[in-house]
Structure formats: C-alpha cells, structure tokens
Symmetry: C2
Subunit: 365 residues, 2 copies
Amino acid sequence: MIIYNSSYLKQFTAQVFIKMGCPEDQAWIAADCLNQADLRGVDSHGVARLSGYIRLWELKRLNATPQMSILHETPSTAVLDGDKGLGLVTAPHAMRIAIEKAKIAGTGWVAVQNSNHYGIAGYHAMMALEHDMIGISMTNASPLVAPTFSKSRFLGTNPIAVAFPALHQPPLVIDMATTTVANGKLEVLQRKGMDAPLGWTQDKDGNPTTDAYSLKKGGSMLPLGGDRDHGGHKGYCLGAMVDIFSAVLSGANYGPWVPPFVSFLEPPANQVGNGIGHFLGAIRVDAFRPALEFKENMDKWIHTFRNAEPSDGQEKVLIPGDPERELTAERIKNGIPLHEQVVDDLKKLGESFGIEFEDKFEDRK
Amino acid sequence: MIIYNSSYLKQFTAQVFIKMGCPEDQAWIAADCLNQADLRGVDSHGVARLSGYIRLWELKRLNATPQMSILHETPSTAVLDGDKGLGLVTAPHAMRIAIEKAKIAGTGWVAVQNSNHYGIAGYHAMMALEHDMIGISMTNASPLVAPTFSKSRFLGTNPIAVAFPALHQPPLVIDMATTTVANGKLEVLQRKGMDAPLGWTQDKDGNPTTDAYSLKKGGSMLPLGGDRDHGGHKGYCLGAMVDIFSAVLSGANYGPWVPPFVSFLEPPANQVGNGIGHFLGAIRVDAFRPALEFKENMDKWIHTFRNAEPSDGQEKVLIPGDPERELTAERIKNGIPLHEQVVDDLKKLGESFGIEFEDKFEDRK
C-alpha cells in the first residue's frame, strides 16, 4: 500500500477527466465523487476505477461531452437522457433537478437512462442534505447476482442510499448494496487466502459455497440475506425494486441486459433500453413538518440508537454512516492507501494523457 | 385447523368493526385489509388479529370514529393526523390522498401520525395499481428488533411494500418485513418443537441463538441479514429508514417509543410523537414514460426473471408476489384455515357483540 494525499488524488482525477474532454465543472464533480468514495472507504469505487471509465470512453461507450436532456416531466418528476455521459456527472445533474422540483412541489424524482456507472450511491443522496432535504439514490449495475432459487446472473449489486439531515448530530447516511457483501470483500479474502462465509456467493450450479473465487468460476453473488431460510428472497426483492425504478421507469437496460462496466466485455445483444439507469429523489422535510422539528427529532433518534445497550462483547452501537464518517476524518488527515497495482495503473494512465502521477505521498492540502 | 370461507370471515370482521362503531364504509375497508392478509398467507395479520384491535379500542387507545385531518401539505406531499384510528382505515385514506396528488403532481407522498397497526403493508401499496401507479407503503411497529451490535429492542419488523403494475403479467408486489423472518415463523417452530436457524434471533444478552423461544425470554429479532458478517447492518439500515420515514417525518413515535400492539403492555412513557406512523407513496408511471411502454417492459422483466435458470434441485424461479397470489387463488377456492384457538377467540368476540361466529365452514360465496 502507498499512501496518497486525498486532495492530490482528486486533483489528478479531475485533470484526467479534463484531458478526456469533460467540461471543467463536470470533471471536478466526477473527481469529487470518486474522491468521496476513497475517503469513505469504498475503495473499489474511488480512483482505482478511474482507468475503467477511460477505457469505456476509448471504446466510445462513454461520452465526455454529453448533451443531457429532459425527455418528460411533471411538477415532481423528470426523465433525464444522460447521452452516454459519466454517471458521475449525470446523477448529480439529475439530483439537482430533483432538488429544484422539491423546492416547488415538495418532492422531486428523476429517473436517468442512457448513463454509465455513477460511483457511490451515497454521494448523490447526500447532495440533498444542505437543502434540508432527504436524498435518495439508487442505480442498477452489471449483472452478478442471482435471484433466489436461480443460478442466472440477472441483477447487479444495485445499491440504495438514503441521507437524512440532522441538527447537531451528523446526518444519518445509509449507503448499501442489496447483496450480502460487495465484491471488494471477496477480493480481500482472496488476497488473504481465506474462505468466505456461507451466504455470500454460490457456485455456477447454484450450490452454497465458501470459495472466495466462486464469482470468477461462473458463480454468482447472493442477494442480502443469502439463502431462502435467511431471507435471501427479500434481498432479491430489493435488488429487483432498484432495477425497476432505475431502468424500467427510465427506459434504460434492466436485468441481464445491463451493460458491463468492464471494457473487455461487450454489452449484451438486443438491448431493451439505453445504457444503465439511476433513480434519484429529493424530499423537502418541511413539506411534511418544520425542518427544525424534524432535525431535532433526528438528533433524538440518533442519540437514542447510539446509546442502545451493546451486546455482550461489543463496545458500541453504530448509526448508519458512522463508520464512513470516521474513516473520512482519518483519511483526510493521514491520506488514502492505494494498492501498488492501482498506483501502476494510474501512472500509466497519467503518462497516456501527459500528466505525471507522482510516486509518493506529498501533503498538498 | 378449521377451514373457513374467505368471504364469511370478511363479513364477520366487518360486522365486528361496525359494532365497534366504525362507519360502515371504513369497517368494510378494514375487513378487506385483514381478509387480504389471510388470503395472502400472512395469517398473523388477518382475522386472528381482530380481537387485538378490539382490545385497544376498549382501552380507548384506538378511536372507531376518527376525524382524520391534513396537518400540512404541498403539491406532492401531506401529513395526515389519523386521530388514533385503525391503521386499516388511516393508511388507505392516506393512500387515496397520495393517488390524488400523483394525478396532478406526478407523485404523491403521505406521512401518517397518530395511527395504529395497519395490517399488511402490501394492501395499501396495491391500491395504486388500478391507477397505473407504483404504490409504496411502510410502517413502523412495536419494538422487537435489535440494532446491529446491540441487545436493545429498538425497532419493529418495519415492513416495506412496493407494487408495480404490469400489462398481461400479474403485478409485481414486494411486501417484506425488514427482519430475517416474521414472528409467525418462530411460532411455527415452537409448535413443532424445532430450533430456529442461526441469524433469526439473539438471546437477551445479544448472543446468537437457535432457541425458537428466545423472543419470549427477553431476546430480540435480528434485522434482515442476521449478524454483521451476513449483512445484518444493512437490515438495520432498512429498519431505521422505515422508522424515520414513518415517524420522524410524520410526527409519530419512533424507535423504543412506538406503542405496543398488545393491549397488556402500556405505551412507553415520555412519548416523542403521536401514535405509530406510516408512509405511503404513489408514483404515476406516465409521469416518467407512457404507461403502456412501462407495463410492456414490466411484462418483459417478469417473463425474463421467471425464466431464469433454476439452481440444482430447484424447480422454478419466483417473481415477488407469486407465492401470495398462488395462495390467494387456493384459499378463495378452498377456504382459510384457522387455528382452534383463533376460532375460540372469534367466538367469544362475536358473543360480546351479539354476532354469531359459526362453528363450521360454510360456502357463502
């Protein structure tokens, strides 16, 4: 692992996106989105993914200068055509539309089609917070997850994020894949040579397995809950819900037709929509009750749950968003660790654009 | 088990609610809601629960003639004061308001405070279907579930329901508690003298247990996923989300302050809101894309997933809502089985209101 300064990584990322042709403001938003993933500990969705976006752009599957347009709208809804843009750009744009609609109609809901991978779901949801709004964000993703009782990879990890503003307490931020675990946790086990717990994945025939490499052998991830006895059918329901909101409502591809993020896989034939889809929502809290009242009660909720009695052997009870916030503070201070192969990848990427990716951590705050 | 005709049970239920003082139209809606639970196989939320509502009414914790009022509204939102009414009545009323708002604003969202148990979440969500709308329904409930790492019972089973209309296919209906299993499944194991799988509950100290009686011994239910390794913190997030939408947004009680359904437990002191809370939403699909287009794609989604390849040893892959729909058809035809103790309870209830609950199944269709 090599430690890098967070703002250095963000600056490098923005420069790469600018060289790719992104308008400067969009490049910085996209860079911020990847940077927040690194700060929050979702390392798979941070700068490590930068070269993946570039490869899609090289294949013309991603458009650096999208002409985004609203296909249809009502006072509280809109459908946005992302024009094959970065999801890191189309989703924040959609969220801004949702926020503007919520100012007038109380809530705003924007479905996005013709988009690409949008980074971490929580980034977009959290945009609502400064407006005293609840933010909601979901997206479908490349199919790796099998429906209950099936061995077909038909769903993505399809995350859901919801961000609630509070008063003196930090906001409560939920940001979760609708699978038992994210792929990144399997990779950690692979590096350590360890088995996975039952309930994370299944083999290519749909049998339970503890093989941390099962996904690479044609197996599939399991929806949150794992097997049927442990409520896996509910995780399947959640993944299905995200797929439908993100893609059937927007006119994007759903289920097995969702185009893959990795550039070495071709998008499936006979597409049923355009690109991948997202669904963003903004709810003005004072469309329900005075914002101060809501936020005071959020503080009380958070205080109460943080003071729930720990189980034997546990130290404390967490609030959704606590671990990410603690890690963010730590990484702003001490830097972001990158695997050597990520560093090599970024160096090559920099070279191809004539931008130096420096060897070592330097404090550029 | 004694088999009863579904429409006989519904008629009996409506008569009881009328005797309790409900306006006739409200009594029939409430009866329909309980009846649909029985038909869909959620036996714990059907006629078996009828006397529970009556006991709350006897204690004046439930109002048979609520004067429901809108406390605040915007084009796409409202807060409804349920005036201590049956949730079986306040939630359908709120859903009708949401549907009317969606007709004009594209979506409608109604938070309900000062309400009581609302039956099955799916009933209210499905009300949107005939309007070519997506229906959403959630509620908080008596605290039985512990946050991750805690032994405090701070959340209810807090269900989420979402109903999506389709064209030739039946609608896709998700209706799920945000726990690994519902309490009813523990009761089944208790009757059979069997242990529960790990991940369903924990003991009073927060340790994993297979004791099917653990809840009755001061233990708690686990959020969907079970322990931390299996994503239980995500189930905790979902339960928290439902609690906040239902109660912090509406002004109802949340977390440990949610009043219990059972009449022998007093509501907690120092209430933080009014009654329990619900959150209902209606999304007009043609606020996003033409309804026909959406429904054709829903058909394709459903067809695709129903034809996913079954795992070894499995026969077919289900679509959310399939099992409930199949059971409904079967129970309309063959009747609804009731435990003898439920039958005794209903007989006594009937006697106290001067309504005979008949001994045997009779076809009154």
